[in-house]
Amino acid sequence: MTRFDAIVIGAGVNGLVAAALLARRGKKVCLIEAARHAGGMAGLRPGEGPALAHLVHNLSPAVRRDLGLGRDWPFALTPLATVALAEDGRHVVVDGPNAKLADGTAHPFAAAHAALTERLTRYGALLRNMAETAPPGGGMSGIAMMRQGLRFARTGLSLRAMGKPEMRRFLQVLLSNAYDLILDEMSDGPLAGLWTADAVRGAALGPRSPGTVFSLIYRMGHGGIVSRPEGGMEAVIAALEEAGRKAGCTLRTDTRVARILTEGDRVTGVATEAGEILSAQVVLSSAAPLTTARLTGLDHFDIEATRRLRNLRARGTVAKVNLKLARAPALPGVDLASARMVFAPSAEYVETAFNPSKYGEMSEAPVIEAVMPDPGAASPWLSLLVQYAPADLDGGWTAAARDRLAQIATRTLARALPDLPGLVTSAEVMTPDQIGAATGGPGGHWHQAELTFDQMLTLRPGNGMGHYAFGPSGLYLCGAATHPGGDVMGLSGRNAALRALEDRA
């Protein structure tokens, strides 16, 4: 039997952050990972090509600070412009608040775009404030409660500081859908398509679904700037891993947890599938909530809790497609090497792409985000996120279905990049069912639970479980299913670790 202060299950982004943070606060931590490498869903690779997550836009500076990584991340982050691809060649190049056409001329809605960016970024800062702390309530100590109270008071004050009309506008749009919000500001086209695509990425939602403004604002938490980690997601994972190692955290890969052990409604450690007992008073699990509950034993949870857990909505809709290219594609007037490409020629297109997924079918004309993680390579990879490719595809994700998805993706991108099909030498596909099978993430959903209002804040992952503590004393959830969610933020892991420390203080 090996004794630790805390055990963290799952070395994905959140597990890595939680383990490193606890270790830095002087705890003896063991981080257990079933796979051979750390990285979880973000670092999951379909084969030789880039990992599932290819960009970061919300990696939290709060995480960096708490992990003692200094003023900058130990890997280079290259901010990318975004090219909203157009079939007629009138691509839109978006760089933060600036939007112009690829030929250098002004975009007719450049002013609206700038105003919208500024406004949503302002709202995003408000939500970020909430994301960086545990949801309100949950019986914490006096000091923590005060600190949290201050944070929410500050959120409230900044809300008030916006002025009454602006506050009213904020509350008005917060619950509404991205489609209406965006098309109030501009007519439909590639720029509107880009906005709505960003609002629904990763979700089983379309731009007209309620709550998509919220997810859009969430993504704007750090200004909406997307950055490419140089060295790929592997560099991000390695940095988090290194932070843990430096703090003395033990990482055990290739180790599966068979059971989370309890005694008298307290966690006592975990038993591995190899039969080893690792003991600890605190166990944080970044596995999905229901998986964690099963590992602990359902009889340790209330009936209402298991009902909520099994009714969590988590239906992945995004597939990863890596295309190996003979050479980098080119677009006149656009530097594709330092750009994110989005094929979503209109908001209408995005909504239409969503429709088949409701019925268990893949989009024939999907929304695609494409990036070259290593544009300097002689034959670079083009890394695609293809939406919508529902986890529960009718007839299942057979090899033929995956091939078809790769063809659809290539054919779709070719509508804007005509020379692309000729450049593709090979393709790798990873569908949500495979993502789910490889990581245990339900439905291969990258938030473990859909980020909608009924599964958010104190209701995330479910009512009565919104404060990381989960069932027996000493057990915590620290994965993307907890507040504030996934998207390579690391905040779920950080908040959960802070909560666990707070409870033991």
């Binding site: 409604d265 099963r294 359902l298 009889d299 340790h300 949870f301 209330d302 009936i303 209402e304 809790a305 298991t306 009902r307 099994r310 009565g464 069932g471 027996p472």
Partner: protein, 392 residues
């Protein structure tokens, strides 16, 4: 959670309705879980005295009955109910409660351990959806037997003699024992009267024959068919609670904070914290020492039964109400079950008063009467527990 009766169907007859209808002189019927059930067949008093002095027969078939089977049944039930049912051997019956995640009582009932992995739960509220939720993830199967199993409750000092006369040997059954006395006929020494008594469980279609058999055997023992009103007197004397009257089943209330914990119902001894986790355990640990109110048994001054009367401290501060109240013919006093807010419920000497309205030939009057706390049931005859029981 009252049962919605389809207005087009109306109330439907229970398994022995023909027998009851033939006996009913008062034609006083009410709806019980969708079935026609007698309030009384003759008069409440007549039936009550038969229950306490001879024997009574009451059809309990409308009760909800659920069968829980499978290797995971014990674990599933122990996670659902508050008492440790692992201690309940096969062939035993246990009274139990179950709570929601906040520790508020959902319902109470009797749990029959028919075999090692074979259980039956009898309760007042429809509970199928809750049981299905509770069974999810456990190797246990839940079946609604409400309309397949009939139950006849034979209660009173002559109950044993009647069963003997009917050729049923139950002399070895101690209180809360159960046994399959004949193929297809299970008898449990249980009841809702606090008296000597048995409940007989058989297939729905076999109930009329069983009724006739008991009726014939009871001919010389003064056996009477009774309705709910007489039973209600007996259960209040015994101090038993009725769901929807003495507590509000928390899954069916719409207003906030109408639920009560077992501690607030004076049923803390039914909560076994040492058995491992069960539904609401964490909330109940927090709530165990801070009841908001207590269920009290009270002797009400005077003779006017006062269910619903408000309770005052020092005749001034309103602090609770009486949920059940009757004139007890056996205890010869005016008794009540009441909910009284803390800390007044625990104060001794108590300074509790009830405001009672009286109607005397067209004239309403109000009166403050003193309430005296009573420990234990109002009536608990030794015959209820004696084994072997008296033949009388």
């Amino acid at each position: 959670m009252s049962v919605m009766t389809d207005p087009k169907v109306g109330l439907i007859p229970g398994p022995v309705h023909d027998r009851l209808a033939a006996l009913s002189r008062s034609q006083a019927w009410y709806g019980w879980a969708g079935y026609v059930a007698p309030s009384h067949l003759d008069s409440m008093e007549f039936e009550y005295f038969a229950l306490r002095n001879q024997a009574s027969l009451f059809d309990v078939s409308p009760m909800h009955k659920y069968r829980i089977t499978g290797p995971g049944a014990l674990a599933m039930l122990n996670r659902m109910v508050t008492r440790d049912v692992a201690k309940l051997r096969a062939g035993r019956v246990g009274y139990t409660l179950w709570c929601d995640e906040e520790g508020m009582v959902i319902d109470d009932g009797t749990l029959f351990r028919l075999g090692e992995d074979d259980w039956r739960l009898c309760c007042q509220e429809p509970m199928l959806d809750w049981l299905m939720e509770a069974a999810w993830g456990f190797d246990a199967k839940v079946t609604d037997e409400s309309h397949d199993i009939a139950g006849l409750s034979l209660q009173g000092p002559c109950a044993f003699a009647i069963l003997e006369a009917a050729g049923l040997d139950v002399g070895h059954l101690k209180p809360f024992d159960l046994a399959e006395i004949e193929p297809g006929l299970t008898v449990s020494r249980t009841g809702f009267t606090g008296d000597l008594g048995y409940e007989l469980w058989t297939a729905w279609d076999a109930a009329p024959a069983l009724w006739d058999r008991l009726w014939e055997a009871g001919r010389h023992h003064g056996l009477r068919a009774i309705g709910y009103d007489a039973l209600n007197l007996a259960r209040i004397e015994a101090g038993f609670l009725t769901a929807g009257v003495d507590f509000q089943p928390v899954l069916s209330v719409e207003r906030l904070h109408r639920g009560l914990t077992p501690f607030e119902l004076n049923l803390g001894h039914m909560v076994h914290f040492d058995k491992g986790h069960f539904n609401g355990r964490r909330a109940l640990i927090r709530a165990r020492n801070t009841p908001r109110s207590l269920l009290m048994r009270l002797d009400v001054e005077g003779f006017k039964p006062a269910p619903g009367a408000l309770i005052y401290h020092r005749k001034k501060r309103e602090i609770g109400h009486l949920s059940s109240g009757i004139w007890s013919p056996t205890a010869k006093c005016n008794i009540a079950l009441a909910h009284v807010r803390m800390p007044y419920a625990a104060q001794r000497p108590a300074n509790l008063w009830a405001e009672i309205y009286t109607l005397e030939e067209g004239r309403w009057a109000t009166r403050m009467v003193r309430l005296t706390p009573v420990k234990g049931p109002f009536f608990a005859p030794p015959r209820a527990k004696a084994t072997p029981p008296a033949r009388l």
